[in-house]
């Protein structure tokens, strides 16, 4: 049985040093570099995890595996700027401001969703806190090194810090409707942000005064306030769940007042209405291709959103926010060619270099360039073709997904007390589980394993 070797292999991986890298030579593919055109019959050499060379007739050094990509398409690993896979907790939904919590504390490298994302060519995802709170938790940027045992090894080392903000119905419902505390309205939303930043400034002054001897009493340490200070110091990129144009403008005004400018709006369904303003602010936009009308504030939408934002100079990406969609982000990108007529390169940028920019990791991933990480997806057809099937996904020069050689059951952590039923039996009762998850994620925060049908947008 193949997986026995796999487990042994995984076990060895753990005993090795962190961030294992590999070397591989991808031969004779159509190389979509994203930043330097498309090169036919070209080789990509990855050495010790980094792209060493892109060119024709490269030869591998000793012991370097060759992959024949003749007739296939070699593109940079897909980057998803909004996802919740690979973590076991999504929402700390107990307070409108929870800047102190961090999804990176609960990385789950055994989540099979990570492997499935790899199967769709996605190599990096932004494991975000949920949208229950106005200022939610800090998020982790994951590299899909599926197979590692240690959660720390799933984290993308050196990626900038990010934090989740949320506007509109979700925080209003969770805190306003449920607990009758601010925010209950969109007006209240604004005040939550303003109060949080104002409190952090007072906190900063208190500690400065204490350290200089002016304040005699020991101030309380607060990780929440420390984090808000770091946002104002420009150390953390905000990723804000948003739909309506008025709220998007509101938050940009608030941030301007507190001197914050690193922000990417998420979902941003009405982004097309304020595209010039977003561009002027330097804000990014991470959108769905064609998904809306799942709640009242998300009706005024268009599939042309990504194209309009792109044409207005907004750094735009298409995200999944979903363990199912993350498996075919290349299809999502292709939709912008029907709705908005984006070029191949414009469309592919939406799932590669642009989300990388929004996460502050564009110097590492998002394009095939010498010196960048050896993160590659190899497709059978052009990735924007409906016939495209991902063949191999490589991260840091290591093949982490291989359609030909890997067994069906790639789970790493087997529940020794799982109840096993046949597939058809599993399908029944699925809906109940979904509701359970949605409920618990919205109101309790713990995320369960069956995450591929949860839409916590």
């Amino acid at each position: 049985m193949k997986y026995i070797n796999l487990i042994i292999g995984l076990f060895l991986a753990v005993t090795m040093s962190a961030q294992e890298t590999g070397s591989v030579l991808i031969k004779n593919g159509t190389v979509i570099t994203i930043t330097d055109g498309v090169k036919e019959n070209t080789d990509v050499l990855i050495q010790n995890g980094k792209i060493k060379q892109i060119g024709e007739n490269l030869s591998a050094g000793n012991g370097i595996t060759e992959i024949d990509a003749t007739g296939q398409y070699v593109m940079p690993g897909i980057v998803d700027a909004h996802s919740h896979i690979g973590i076991s907790v999504v929402n700390e939904a107990t307070n409108p401001v929870t800047a102190e919590v961090f999804t990176g504390d609960c990385v789950d490298p055994y989540d099979i969703g990570v492997y499935r994302a790899l199967a769709g060519g996605t190599t990096v995802s932004h494991a975000m806190h949920g949208s229950a709170n106005a200022i939610g938790g800090q998020c982790e940027t994951l590299k899909h090194r599926f197979g590692v045992i240690d959660p720390e090894e799933m984290k993308m080392e050196g990626a900038p810090r990010t934090i989740k903000f949320a506007l509109g119905e979700n925080p209003m419902r969770v805190h306003g409707e449920r607990n009758n505390i601010t925010p209950r309205t969109r007006m209240g939303m604004e005040q939550v942000f303003r109060k949080a930043f104002a409190d952090a400034l007072v906190y900063k002054k208190d500690w400065a005064d204490y350290n200089s001897g002016k304040l005699k009493e020991l101030p309380e340490y607060s990780l929440r306030m420390e984090t808000l200070m770091d946002i104002m110091d420009g150390e953390i990129i905000i990723h804000c769940h948003s739909y309506r144009a008025d709220e998007i403008l509101m938050l940009m005004n608030v941030l301007e007042d507190y001197g914050v400018n690193k922000i990417c709006f998420q979902h941003v369904n009405e982004g097309f209405k304020v595209a010039p303003e977003l561009a002027a602010f330097g804000a990014g936009a991470s959108v769905f291709s064609d998904w809306w009308a799942y709640k009242f504030e998300v009706y005024y939408s268009t599939a042309y959103n990504a194209a309009i934002l792109t044409k207005n100079g907004v750094v735009t990406s298409i995200n999944s926010d979903d363990a199912g969609l993350i498996r075919h982000l290349y299809h999502e990108a292709a939709k912008t060619q029907k709705y908005g007529g984006l070029t191949d390169n414009e469309a592919l940028r939406l799932i590669t270099i642009n989300p990388a920019k929004q996460l502050g990791i564009e110097n590492r991933v998002g394009s095939l360039e010498v010196g960048k990480d050896g993160d590659v997806a190899i497709f059978s057809h052009h990735p924007l073709s409906i016939y495209a099937i991902n063949q191999k996904t490589i991260i840091d020069g290591i093949v982490r997904f291989d359609i030909d050689t890997q067994p069906d059951d790639m789970r790493i952590d087997i529940n020794p007390e799982e109840s096993i039923s046949s597939f058809m039996e599993n399908m029944e009762g699925h809906e109940d589980k979904c509701m359970q998850d949605v409920y618990s994620e919205l109101f309790l925060g713990e995320k369960h394993n069956h995450s591929h049908h949860n839409h916590q947008h």
């Binding site: 907790v89 700390e92 107990t94 307070n95 102190e100 609960c106 045992i149 952590d413 007390e417 046949s422």
Partner: protein, 594 residues
Amino acid sequence: MINKRNALQGLFMVILTLITGWTTPLKAQNSNEPKEVTATYLLQNAHIIAKPGQSSFGSVLVRDGLIEQVGPNLRAPYDAQIIDMDSMYIYAGFIDALSHVGLKKKEKEGRPDVKDPGNPPNNVAGITPEHSVYDDYAPSEGSVKKLREQGYGIAHIVPQGRMLPGMGAIFSMAEGDPSSLVIKKEASMFSQLKSANRVAPGTTIGVLAKYRDIYRNAEATGKYNAKYNMNPAGMRRAQPEPAIEAFIPVVNKQMPVYFIAKSALDVSRVISLQKELGFNLVLADVEQGWPMASKITAGRYPVLLSMDLPDPIKEDKKEKKDESKMTEEEKTKAAEEKAKEEAKKKKEEAKLSMLEKANKKAKMEREERKKKSIKEYESQAAMMEKKGIKFAFTGVSTKPGDIKKNLKRMIDAGLSESTALAALTTNAADQLGISKIAGTIEKGKLANLVVTDKPYFEEKSMIRYVFVDGQMSEMKKKEEKKGKLEKGASTALAGEWKYSIEIPGQTQSGTIKITPDGDYLLVEVDSSDEPGDYEEGTSVNFKDDKLSFEMSVDNDGFQMDLTWDLDIEDNTMKGMVKAGQFGSFPVEATRTPE
């Protein structure tokens, strides 16, 4: 994998409520018992396993709670009660490195009534590091007796609760007043990644963030206090915050943190937190630690392994006769039957659709992986032993009745008996800092002893005596415990019986499970309040279609003896249950068809 409470306590409660005017609590049974005649015992002619891997034949002299002498030919002092061990085995009393024994069951919490769930009071949030388990420990709780009967003389007890329930203490499992039993007060800080109920911290990420907050505040307060103590001039007194103050010894590394970390991910999370903050960490109740073995080794973290294991997959119980003992005729018959079965199987398989076949295959493969997974859990201790990771055992989430059974499964999976014993004795003593007084059978140490009729790790071994602080408890012999089985009794009795007891105004129901065990009968009873939490019957007697047995149930330290007398007719049993001095009540049971 949940630590359940005493079976039948629901029944007991019902009966208790029948007694009108019962306002003063019952005295714990133990205080009614006569005082022992002597506190000196000479245990003669025994295999003495003084410490793991060291065995000799001889005697142990116990006096006034201590081991006075160990040697081959000890003379009995005039005041000694001589107990001839008749080649039984004496081990040092076991030590539970982390336990909730002797704590009253927490009442089920409803949804807390908190106006602002983001800022709940500390007790609702589960943050009470200032609390000491010393205030909770009740030696009369039935759980103490149960643990003692498994051979335990000492337990490190930690309070129940959520992320920071409070400080642990080390107690002797002897009978007496808590103040006379405590070995070390405020021995540890107990921590869990357990979130609060619908208030902050509501998730694991909330707990971890809150932990950092508490730690940093304790750090700052500690420094402030130190400065103030040096020279208070010009400084304001720090405002007392009990939770923060209690945490200062943790920051100063004067108090170890026993952190529950069952799964591999939790082990990793707790280690990451420790690396960030720097407290003295003991990984506790580890069930799935092997994937993080290299991290554990690198950080040299002390480890307490759980004695809980996933349920084994039930094997087909079809009796298979040993082929070598079969006659030729029997062999042919067996072969014929086998061929028939296989043909039938093939026929059935041919009928399956492609999808059904694929499902069947997938299911089988999943089952295979599940079996392997169970094996990994069983092998954890052996694997740690091989890697040179020193560990002790904790029973904090293990039912006392499962301890020996699960240790056997670990040993079958490769754990050496001496390491298993060390994890129950010397390693636990080292970890708790009590190896000068406990963990081995040596002159001057506490007279905590376990006496078994066969070597402890043998499957059929029974604990016959347990000494704690020199107090002797004698266990009943197997023959006394279980009814000798008559021929045909197996079919007459074996199986599960649903019973109901008629108590005026109430009906108490549950299951009686009867299993023939060799020449004896094992009778177990549970209650519908705690299904599956079986209490074992003693003094089982079965004769002339009459079954009788006894059992003792307890609730918060109140003991009550139940005596069952039943007449059996095919698949029904009828009779009476005598409940202590409260009277007898009619009982009926019917056998559940297989």
